[in-house]
Structure formats: structure tokens, C-alpha cells
Symmetry: C2
Subunit: 105 residues, 2 copies
Amino acid sequence: MRSNKQKKLEAKGWKIGSASDFLELSPEEELYIELKLSLCKSLKKLRTKKHLSQEDVAKLIKSSQSRVAKMEAGDASVSIDLVIKSLLSVGASKSDLVKAVSSAA
Amino acid sequence: MRSNKQKKLEAKGWKIGSASDFLELSPEEELYIELKLSLCKSLKKLRTKKHLSQEDVAKLIKSSQSRVAKMEAGDASVSIDLVIKSLLSVGASKSDLVKAVSSAA
DNA sequence: TTGCAATATGTCATATTTGACATATACTCT
DNA sequence: AGAGTATATGTCAAATATGACATATTGCAA
């Protein structure tokens, strides 16, 4: 099982250089990150389930493979908007989104 | 009961000037808009329930009253990211988010 | 009515997100 | 081993979202 600290570290780029430290996140910052990571994980799951490459998804959303990789990695440089748009483009249903939100830690 | 067309029109600024017309949205574009509008609506509900002014919320999220107004209006210039951050700052729980996503048309 | 607080709408310079690209790394195959 | 495919990571100019501000509009109490 993955530790809490590791999950925070996966949110690459977050809070680096800011006053507050990684492990001092407010509850709402925590939930925001967990939610985003959950959506990112769902994207990867749905994509592989559909046997699509990152390049395939990139074409669907008119973006690039590198951006899809960053989405799946939960990179801080990608917006939740883009992740949600990608999920929908890959065929996620409303209930898929509900599941993703529900399963945020 | 509100018509479908009206809900689209509430998504101010959307698709204006683009090739496709308001009423020709793909299913995923539809769901994306409905989802966003649902989150916006939830924000307004939660804010009023907590007896907060838009100015109060603006201070919580370090933004401005006008941006909060735009969020609640479902303005196309605001990101889902900001709406979610606002919801969490106002005290939304995970189940509040789940409900908002679930109740997207 | 007037006055005041809350909300709506428009604009704009700045900040953040974006797609694109290069390149690195991983994972099959033969 | 090498070749081919998929994924990861870094960078950057262009596109988009942002907070701040001005101002308009609403609603409501005196």
C-alpha cells in the first residue's frame, strides 16, 4: 500500500518553493490533490482498458503525447479541466466520474 | 422546468464565433458543460447555505467578488479547477462533490 | 423615494496552462 | 546486442485563466 507521503510527492511540482512545506497542506488542499490524482489515475485506467496509446488519446483531444503522459503522472502543470475533458473524450461516463471522485482518498 | 436550450445559453461565451453552433455539441462537450454548471450551482447553494457573501468567498480563495460572481454564473472564463477549489474552501465535503457530479444532467 | 449592501458585467495586464517539440527512458521483440 | 514502440521528462512561445478594478444592476430597509 502506498504511503500518504508518496502520494503527495507524486503531485510533482506542488508547493515547491512556496512558504509551506509538502506535508503541511490544509484539508482542502489535500482533498483537491487527492481528487486530481484520482481523476488522473482513472484516465490511465480507462485508456489502457480501451487499448489506446497516449498518442491515440492525444489525437482525440488534439493535444500531444507528452501532455497525456503528464496528466497520467498527476503533474502539477495540468488542470483538472483538461483531465476531465480527456476522460470524457476517452469515453468516460458520468458514473465513471462519480467513481473517480468517490475514490479520492 | 428549465429547457435544455436555456441551460446551454447559460454557459455564457461558449462556442461563440466557433464553427459549430450552440446546439451542435458532442455528447462529451455536453456532459462537460453540464458538469461544470452543476458544480457552479453547488457553489452558490453552499455559499448561501453558509450565509456568506461573494465577497466573503473571494477573501477565502484570495480572489475577487467579480470572479466569484462569474463562477456562480457559469461563465466560460472560469475553470473547473477554480470552482472546485472554491467549493472546498467554502467547506464542501467529498460527498458534496460526488452529489454535484451525480446531479449533472 | 433614498441609501446601502450584494451581485452582475466588462476590461485588462499578469499569471498559469497549453500544445509542440526534443530527447530520455522503458519495454518488447528478433 | 539492436530496432521499434510506448511512455516519461524538460523547455518554451502562444493561448487561456486570473485577480483587480470600474461600473451597472438588483434588492431591500428606512
